[in-house]
Amino acid sequence: MPDGMMPEAEILEPAEEVGVSQRTILLRRIVGHKGLLVGTSIVLFFILVALFAPIITRHDPYGQDLYHRLQNPVWYADGDWENPLGTDRMGRDYLTRLIYGSRVSLIIGFSAVAISMVIGCTLGIVGGYFRGRIDMMINYLTTVQLSMPVIIVALAIMSLTKGSFLLVIFIIGFFGWTGFAIVTRSTTQQIRSLDYIVAAQAAGCSNFKIIFSEILPNVLPQVIVVATLGIAGAILAETGLSFLGLGVNPPTPSWGLMVNEGKVFMFTKPWVILFPGILIFLLVYAMNMLGDGLRDIISPEGRN
């Protein structure tokens, strides 16, 4: 082509639009995340076991049978399939108690976190939204809560009240709100300062409405992540309390309590503590994988 000549400019027609919806991307990310899938399946498994416990095992977890105390499990010569994992001190079927233990952990975990979520999100959103003195107060409360030796205070309270199922839930829930507060506060602050919120207020939109329609939906993803990780923490907390004898009371089939009760036998019959311990670990591990997976999906960091 000779210098100085300009070729014809073709106006290219736009070919078909290749669009991919947000939902498809999200689904693809979820399916591609192995950790999330593994964690979710294990958690679902535990939930199903807890729900269908009466169908899975026909023994009563509270049913004492003092004639058949401390039976050995099947792999011993004198064990039989009636009690595959043997019986405990009170003659209760061990496997059944392990199965029902999933109910205890899951119920306590979810309920305690629900309480923490309500307290924490309220404080966090209120503080982040209204700022000023209210925010300072809430910040102060958070610092106080974080500076409290929770383990010791919780133990002491449980000891004085002789413990109960509901109280364990309440204590763990009451002391665990800071994670929610911190996360909701920073997100609320970010959203609060956006122009369209200021515009909405100027237009006469009530604070309540703004919080519900704008802030809550945006805070939700992170709250879900904190909640799943919080459930893992709550389950660990309950098992710890029960292990120390200051959690749920016997005869409730809590895995932590079972480790405590089994401690005396651990040198000769290690499975007594191994089974409940491994189950605690497995459930918490799955919960953590779920939470981490959700966090990766919601805000992928460093993923190309």
Binding site: M1, D3, G4, M6, I11, L12, P14, A15, E17, N304
Partner: protein, 320 residues
């Protein structure tokens, strides 16, 4: 040959989950002593990536390919990472766009200035500080000795950019790449920084690559210019030629966007670059259709921008 920096068919390939991206394709240029090469183009055309490719600072997921890439005769393609690090800051230096975040907030200005000299040469503390003070003064910073102890957050944007320039000059490099050094600064400071860079170049004979999307600035500071679009060079030549008689419609389009005081009549529409001509380069270099899993909301599939790279050989210009 007076060639300080030379590149032939420089390519950058980035591997992403959606496919292979070629943000830089077949870029060639040469830079001599005392010369300034301007690289212009809109955001996303690949100009910054080109300079990062030259420096060997591409992100991990990116790969660089070229038929030829050399700095002062040294082949940059065969060099290993350690030797390349020896060249950076030493023979070839770079200034970036965001002065506010380009300095480490935890260390003093003096510390950051002196460390490149320590890294590349066996210089004593006294000598290094002296050079730092000299350069700070040279870049127009008042009270240079006391600045050494200051921290970046205590300096304004313009001052920080001057510190960046001083830092780039510490080891007496032969080539300096300035990637939009004035874009984040206000207009009056812009003019000062530009003047400073031009002065330094005249004084030291350093070769400079000046990257910008601002044609006006480039026309003032660069003798040669390279117009980039969608990762390729669409036009190259002397600044005067390219801007007064552009051969490529894209260059013409860019020039049309600039209102000329006195000439552009009030009320006429400014030129614009039609999006129908600007697909993103998601396809492989053979022009295969886009892979289905593309993350952007809508994209125009399949079309290749036609490219025409006229070359202006010396003496071949007809009417001028």
């Amino acid at each position: 040959m007076n060639e300080l920096l030379k590149a032939i068919d420089l390519d950058v390939e980035i591997r992403m989950t959606e496919g292979l991206l070629h943000p830089v394709r077949n870029v060639s240029f040469s830079l001599g002593r005392g010369e300034t090469l301007g690289i212009v183009g809109e955001s996303g055309c690949g100009k910054s990536l080109t300079s990062l490719a030259v420096m060997g600072l591409l992100p991990r997921s990116a790969a660089r390919r070229a038929r030829h890439l050399s700095l002062a005769g040294q082949d940059l393609l065969k060099i290993n990472k350690r030797d390349m690090a020896h060249l950076r800051g030493n023979k070839i230096a770079m200034i970036f766009q965001e002065p506010m975040t380009s300095l480490n907030p935890c260390y003093s200005v003096g510390n950051q200035l002196v460390e490149s000299l320590h890294r590349h040469g066996k210089v004593g503390v006294q000598e290094a500080s002296k050079r730092a003070i000299y350069l700070l003064e040279r870049t127009g910073i008042t009270a240079p000795a006391s600045r050494l102890k200051q921290y970046p957050h205590q300096l304004s944007g313009g001052l920080r950019q001057r510190v960046m320039i001083a830092m780039a000059l510490m080891c007496r490099p032969e080539v300096i790449i300035a990637d939009e050094p004035t874009t984040a600064l206000d207009v009056t400071i812009q003019a000062q920084i530009l003047g400073l860079l031009a002065e330094i170049q005249k004084e030291t004979g350093i070769g400079m690559i000046f990257i910008s999307h601002n044609l006006g600035i480039v026309s003032r500071i660069a003798e040669k210019v390279m117009v980039m679009y969608a990762g390729e060079v669409v036009e190259t030549g002397s600044t005067v030629d390219v801007f007064t008689q552009p051969l490529h419609p894209y260059t013409q389009g860019l020039l049309d966007c600039i209102p000329v005081p006195g000439r552009t009549k009030r009320g006429t529409m400014l030129g614009y670059i039609s999006r129908a001509r600007c697909p993103a380069r998601w396809a492989s270099s053979e022009g295969a259709p886009l892979p289905a899993a593309a993350p952007m909301r809508s994209r125009i599939a399949g079309a290749r921008p036609w490219t025409y790279t006229p070359s202006r050989r010396a003496g071949s210009i007809g009417a001028s």
